[in-house]
Amino acid sequence: MITLQNVSKWYGTFQVLAECSTHVNKGEVVVICGPSGSGKSTLIKCVNGLERVQEGIIKVNGMEVTNSGADLTRLRANIGMVFQHFELYPHMTVVNNICLAQEKVLKRSRTEAMEKTMSLLERIDLTEHADKYPGQLSGGQQQRVAIARGLAMDPVAMLFDEPTSALDPEMINEVLDVMVELANDGMTMMVVTHEMGFARKVANRIVFMDEGRIVEDASTDEFFNSPRSERAQAFLAKILHH
């Protein structure tokens, strides 16, 4: 479904990604972790072309994202993305946040879009907040709306860029619960996160990055029980035993 081959990217002379290769099969959940500044967020933004890469090939659902002629808007309509800071549109109600791309990109009628939106809001248990503005919701609620906005497009895969990093601790679980449910429903997911409990529970594979490189790409059991690289061992020791 998603493949990356030798992807490299530079900001000026600084190399943020160095020959990264990995893949996500249909229905798989792959968690990307690693210390901050290791290039995880950049990598996931390259998957739907929000960031361009200088070298390497990225293919999603048969389409080559890295081809300069690629129809990125069509590709992006098929892949949902959730951001660290939610990025809901502050001037629109919850309903309109979820309806906008359905109507403008998928050309659904208002009735169809509303039907989809209300069923998603029911699923994430926010029906009574439908007509509120993002600023009136808690962080956890906003992030759930952002997930619904992605799902409304009936995506073939979902990308999550540190979806719980900006949340107060007590709100993390309500977001993770939605993601776990999604994973259990068979959604193809690529998730940048520090939530190792979530990774352990639902990830098929863990990709560990450091300094722009993919240092380890292993099945979840293997990664947690016998990480090969020293850097991954050190990272796990820090994140799991405090």
Binding site: L72, N78, F83, H85, E87, Y89, H91, K104, A146, G150
Partner: protein, 219 residues
């Protein structure tokens, strides 16, 4: 000096002055609309990744902003008829001049407004498959304009005062109308005092409104 202050003359000339004030308002309103429309296009061009568009917009803005408004008004009064071969009249040439002039200022305000919308908002729009124009139309510009409303109104107040320059193309705006009465009746003090009061009240109302809006948006 105010012993012989003749209120009568003001009262008597109100209908004539009102006509002038209406022209001032009309010019201001149309120049704001035209200026914002063209200013938005210029701002988008300036922020575009296409070098030629950005260069054109930058040149336009810098050129217009380095000449006095009165000169632009003269230009269009004398040059446009030469270019199209027939006179366009004081009103249209002044209106075009104001729009062209204001567009340069508005484009800088709008550019700042667009830049105040975070990168993440654009990403969010892109990630759902919206194209460039849809992102501008539905996500960026509404937020940009909301952030800029106070400064747009401030610019409108300046523009309203600047409409008094149309006397150079013999249009009767409020200032010119006051002037005419003052000269004809020999009541300079009354008329110029009254004109000052009217401008003061209108502009004060505008700036008070801006202050309240700012407070509102800060909350």
């Amino acid at each position: 000096m105010f012993g012989q202050f003749d209120y009568e003359i003001i009262a008597k000339s109100i209908p004539f002055l009102w006509q002038g004030l209406q022209l001032s308002f009309l010019l201001t309103a149309l120049a704001i609309l035209g200026g914002i429309a063209i200013g938005t296009v210029l701002a988008l061009m300036r922020l575009s990744s296409m070098k030629a568009l950005s260069l054109f917009s930058a040149t336009y803005v810098n050129l217009i902003r380095s000449v006095p408004l009165i000169l632009v008004i003269f230009w269009f009064y004398f040059l446009v008829p030469l270019a199209i071969g027939r006179p366009v009249g004081g009103f249209y040439s002044a209106l075009i001049a104001f729009i062209i002039f204001e567009a340069a200022y508005y484009s800088e305000i709008i550019r700042a407004g667009i830049r105040s919308v975070t990168r993440g908002q654009v990403w969010a729009g892109q990630a759902t498959g919206l194209n460039y124009w849809q992102i501008q139309r539905y996500i960026v510009l509404p937020q940009a304009f909301r952030n800029m409303i106070p400064i747009l109104i401030t610019q409108a107040i300046i523009l309203f005062q600047d409409t008094s320059l149309v006397f150079v193309v013999s249009l009767r705006d409020f200032m010119t109308a006051s002037s005419i009465v003052a000269q004809k009746e020999g009541r300079l003090i009354e008329m110029y005092m009254f004109a000052a009061v009217v401008y003061f009240v209108i502009c004060l109302a505008g700036s008070t409104f801006v202050k309240r809006l700012k407070k509102e948006t800060e909350r």
